[in-house]
């Protein structure tokens, strides 16, 4: 159940501040470094957004700057996760929600393909077994 289901009416809602802390712009420079590293060595990396002092306004600013790209992936695993490519290929905005729909963690991942999207060899092997089982029935 989300909090919205509880009928609390806030009489004096706190004023919404613009809330930009100036902590977001340096992240763009860090991202540039990480993309350079990805191109040079193939090493992927990530920025943990929930560990940084970023306000919702900062996050909006960052999201706005990075834009959205061609791919948007939705993963249903213990709550929804979205892995969206930004306008900069190789830079992915990853948001994990829990089963209640609350954001559990948020990352910007720099990789050709986000780690979570790749199928693990062991799982592929299990899939192969399934296929072979199906074929044996034909």
């Amino acid at each position: 159940m989300s909090l919205d289901a509880i009928p609390i009416h806030v009489i004096n809602a706190p004023p919404i501040e613009s809330g930009l802390t100036g902590n977001a712009p340096p992240l763009l420079r860090e991202l540039a470094e990480q993309v350079k590293r990805l191109l040079a060595t193939g090493e992927s990396s990530a920025i943990d957004l929930s560990a940084l002092p970023l306000t919702p306004a900062d996050l909006d600013w960052l999201r706005d700057k990075l834009g959205s790209g061609e791919i948007a992936i939705t993963l249903q695993a213990n709550g929804e996760s979205t892995l969206n490519e930004t306008a900069c290929p190789g830079v992915w905005w990853v948001t994990h929600h829990n089963e209640q729909g609350v954001v559990a963690s948020q990352f910007i991942e720099v990789a050709f393909v986000p780690e979570l999207v790749k199928a693990h060899p062991q799982d592929v092997a299990i899939g192969l077994e399934k296929l072979e089982f199906m074929n044996s029935d034909l």
């Binding site: 920025i47 213990n78 994990h96």
Partner: protein, 359 residues
Amino acid sequence: MQGPLIDTLARQGVTRRTFLKYCATLASMMALPPSAGLAMAEAMAAARRPSVIWLPFQECTGCTESITRSHSPTLEGMIFDMISLDYQETLMAAAGHQAEEARHAAMKENAGKYLLIVDGSIPLGVDGAYSCIGGRSNVDILKEAAAGCAAIVAMGSCASFGGIPKANPNPTGAVSVSDIIKDKPIVNIPGCPPIPVVMTGVLAHYLTFGSLPELDDKGRPKAFFGETIHDRCYRRPFYDQGKFAKTFDDEGARSGWCLFELGCKGPVTHNACATVKWNGGTSWPVESGHGCLGCSEPDFWDAGGFYKALSVPADPLKIAAFAAVVGAGAGVAVSFANRAKKNAAKKAHQPITLDDLEK
């Protein structure tokens, strides 16, 4: 029973991606670098279930409830199932001599390797006779189990600091685990009850890196207890603006202002409630409109009243007793009584400076 964790999870319908996602979030909560999530997932997926012996002493089983009764089957709960829990009085089917035998067998089989979880304080009064299991005192059982363990996790405020059994006047002579065991690594996970994910975090760290996470001066994992409730409280801006709720139903309370004046112990309490929250991230005490009780700090029960603001005298019991004595002597000048009260108040006063709050 034995086997890599990922296989056991798969049998429970937990996919690898679910697990990866969980580890990424866990690593984020533990302030580990993002890459640690993957390392954690790989190490934990392959890990064999470690043997865990859980000893309950003077406790209310609230800590067990906190971890095992999350409202939906969470990964916390499942990973908790995935350790080889060889002795847990509340959860195990065995009873009596069979149960005690299971503990001894596990201790022998995994000597030097098992993890010991303790919840509840240990009474030392009357040679420990206040709390016995199978005719043996808690302190006796603890010493025996601690001798062969790799590390101890003190679950909850009672095991960590003595908790409510130790509250004034401590009739059973209750003490914490670290008061008795000195030669083993001990992690304190205080809280009444503690947050489930802290327990999982410590287990995950232990399975991934083979060591315990970094601890603060009170033996608590820094990742979860490094900051105060106040530091991470979403009502903090109101504190900074001097906007306080004065009663539980005034304008300020309705507007969601700071609960400092209603006795919130957030400024001196180190815990992760403000960030991790409770009940699957639904809410936490301050969000529900009640100040923090400070349950993860030593002796929170005796800290002077849950509804007394922090800068008032910390021990009103003492003042009341003193004032009663003064009152008994009839004819004593009122001014003298007042001065005595004032002095008593001064003595009991534990000032909180601005520096304390800003830490």
